[in-house]
């Protein structure tokens, strides 16, 4: 079982790295750090017959877009500037894609987890993380998502994506993670 999972991870990783579109470096770091879940996700796509090696953009009807590295819904981390909860322009289209998906599937719930980098006091950073999550939530609601589909929460600086203590690490930690059930 373990070798299958590792094998699938290698396939997915090769696909992502050698893949069709260049992604921003921070997104790539995030995805490679998600080895375990990526592997199981791609296993599902294979099982349903979706083509993981083809050049099709978009996804075939049988597969879940959340599994499809080609789909903007595959991007589920939004990064933020220092001390800010403002959604950067380069993430507007990703948030819009999630809004469309949620508006079209009103039974699907999403959790927005807000995070902050380690600098400053922890409880203030919890509040900052919540502001970031709520910022994304507001944008989803404006674009037609029901309030009841969205849950926001904050981990502040308590669950860093990167354990470093420099600008690079801090940038990777100032984020909101978009979490769908099972993903």
């Amino acid at each position: 079982m373990k070798t299958i999972v590792i094998g699938l991870f290698i396939v997915v990783f090769a696909f992502v790295v050698g893949g069709c579109e260049t992604t921003a470096i921070d997104d790539e770091d995030y995805q490679s750090g998600q080895a375990g879940s990526d592997a199981s996700v791609s296993g599902g796509a294979n099982a349903s017959g979706a083509d993981v090696q083809g050049l099709d953009s978009g996804y075939s009807g049988g597969g879940n877009p959340l599994d499809d590295p080609q789909s903007p819904l595959y991007k589920r981390v939004i990064y933020f500037m220092y001390d800010s909860a403002e959604i950067k322009p380069e993430y507007q289209s990703v948030v819009a894609a999630h809004a469309r998906y949620l508006a079209a599937n009103s039974s699907i719930q999403v959790t927005l987890e807000g995070h902050a980098d380690e600098r400053g006091s922890r409880e203030y950073n919890i509040a900052l993380g919540e502001q970031r999550a709520k910022s994304i939530a507001r944008m989803l609601v404006i674009q037609g998502v029901r309030d009841g589909q969205i849950r926001t929460m904050s981990y502040g600086e308590e669950k860093p994506a990167s354990g470093g203590h420099d600008d690079r690490a801090w940038q990777l930690n100032r984020r909101v993670e978009i979490k769908y059930p099972g993903y």
């Binding site: 400053g120 922890r122 409880e123 203030y124 509040a127 919540e130 929460m153 981990y155 502040g156 203590h165």
Partner: protein, 431 residues
């Protein structure tokens, strides 16, 4: 096989923690040389069957006093005599050694594991006895007895109560496989010895806060995947959930009478300060703003609360009276001041301050308005005042490791507590 390996490792850890004075703790002291009071602690005479007790007790007293930066203890090899009784003291000899204070004592053996520790403290120049006590002590209580003696010596000479018998709470984080983490809430003696874990979790633990009588700790736990505030009785481990509202449940702070908790809740939209009556669980909203209000701390008279707010744009410290009324801003230096802790008289406020060197601990004198930066770590946080107001415990980073440090309120003396536990954060000094 794996399980027995774990048992052996646990056993080793227990042995280390229960070991002698030179156990898993490193304390570096910088500063404090000038003005340190010279004190001679003469080895106590031991009854037969009590060998080693004097060295153990004396070592703890000496370490306690020297750790404050306020005392310099005379080396054994420089002692010219070893008086056991007051009648044997030749004060002129000790004056010649420039000692201001002298401690003599004895260890009496009552039974196999029971002693009486007696000590007497003298003013060398006045040639007077200042203090003395006979303390019954079982073997397991020796550490506590030594701390108590150090407290009495400290208070007699400086006029300020000692904090050697107090405890510290803190959170440790251990990295596991696959980005998993293990969080522990621990309580140790003020010198870092005897760490006990009172909560273990796979999810974050934050903001431990001691009740004024030291019997309970309130904290934030994410064990249910969302933040919630608990109150736990330290001795029994019994706990109750007191706040798990939608949104943030954080930053618990005890009222001086132990009947209320100030909290941060964001259930109504933005994080605001609420007052929770612990018995009735009734909630009262204290601050209302469209900004972040968090990190409340009670004044010692129980009549006002100091808290962090970014209502002015960036986080600063404010004060609000509990009967409502105006919110007054306290901090005006720098663009970020948060996480306040108050001295016992409420006049000094220590905080996380962002200046040119990153995040440091600063202290504000409220009566004079004088502000001073005390540390230079760059990623310093979570200051907590000692209950005698003499030192501030805080979290800092040395290289890639999170550690605890303490700094005297005048900035002269620094201590680094290197606990054996990897990442250490969120210290709280007990009353």
């Amino acid at each position: 096989m794996y399980r027995s390996a774990i048992r052996i490792i646990n056993l080793c850890l227990i042995l280390i923690f229960s070991g002698s004075v030179n156990a898993q703790l490193t304390i570096e002291i910088t500063g404090g040389a000038e003005g340190a009071v010279p004190i001679a602690i003469v080895p106590f005479v031991e009854d037969q069957g009590a060998e080693g007790v004097s060295k153990y007790v004396r070592g703890i007293i000496q370490a306690d006093l020297e750790r404050t930066g306020g005392f310099k203890s005379l080396a054994l090899r420089d002692m010219l005599s070893n008086p056991v009784d007051a009648s044997q003291i030749k004060f002129r000899n000790w004056q010649a050694l420039a000692q201001e204070n002298l401690v003599i004592g004895r260890v009496e053996r009552v039974s196999a594991k029971n002693y009486i520790i007696e000590f007497r403290l003298f003013d060398v120049f006045k040639q007077q006895r200042l203090s003395g006590l006979r303390i019954p002590s079982s073997k397991s209580q020796l550490r506590r007895t030594a701390h108590k003696i150090a407290d009495i010596i400290y208070q007699t000479i400086t006029g300020t109560p000692g904090v050697f018998s107090t405890r510290i709470a803190y959170v440790t984080v251990a990295q596991g496989k696959n980005k998993s983490r293990k969080y522990r809430l621990q309580v140790a003696d003020a010198d870092g010895y005897n760490p006990q874990t009172i909560l273990t979790s796979r999810e974050p633990i934050m903001s431990p806060a001691w009740s004024a009588d030291g019997s309970r700790i309130a904290y934030v736990s994410f064990e249910k995947k969302l933040s919630a505030v608990y109150i736990q009785t330290v001795s029994s481990g019994q706990r109750e959930l007191v706040a798990s509202y939608p949104g943030i449940n954080g930053a618990p702070a005890w009222s001086p009478d132990g009947r209320q908790l100030a909290l941060t809740l964001s259930k109504d939209g933005e994080p605001d300060i609420y007052i929770l009556d612990i018995d009735s669980r009734s909630l009262r909203k204290l601050t209302r703003s469209y900004s972040i209000d968090t990190e409340p701390v009670w004044s010692p008279d129980g009549r006002s609360i100091v808290f962090t707010s970014d209502r002015g744009g960036k986080p600063q410290l404010y004060s609000v009276a509990l009967d409502g009324g105006t919110v007054r801003r306290l901090t005006f230096e720098g663009s970020y001041n948060a996480a306040a802790t108050l001295s016992p008289d409420g006049n000094l406020v220590a905080m996380v301050h962002r200046g040119g060197q990153g995040y440091q601990i600063g202290v504000l004198d409220r009566s004079s308005g004088f502000f001073r930066v005390l540390t230079d770590g760059g990623l310093d946080e979570a200051p907590s005042f000692a209950p005698n107001g003499s030192m501030i415990l805080y979290a800092t980073r040395k290289g890639s490791q999170g550690q605890l440090s303490a700094v005297s309120v005048d900035g002269r003396v620094r201590q680094r507590l290197v606990l054996d536990a990897g990442e250490v954060q969120e210290p709280a000094w007990s009353p």
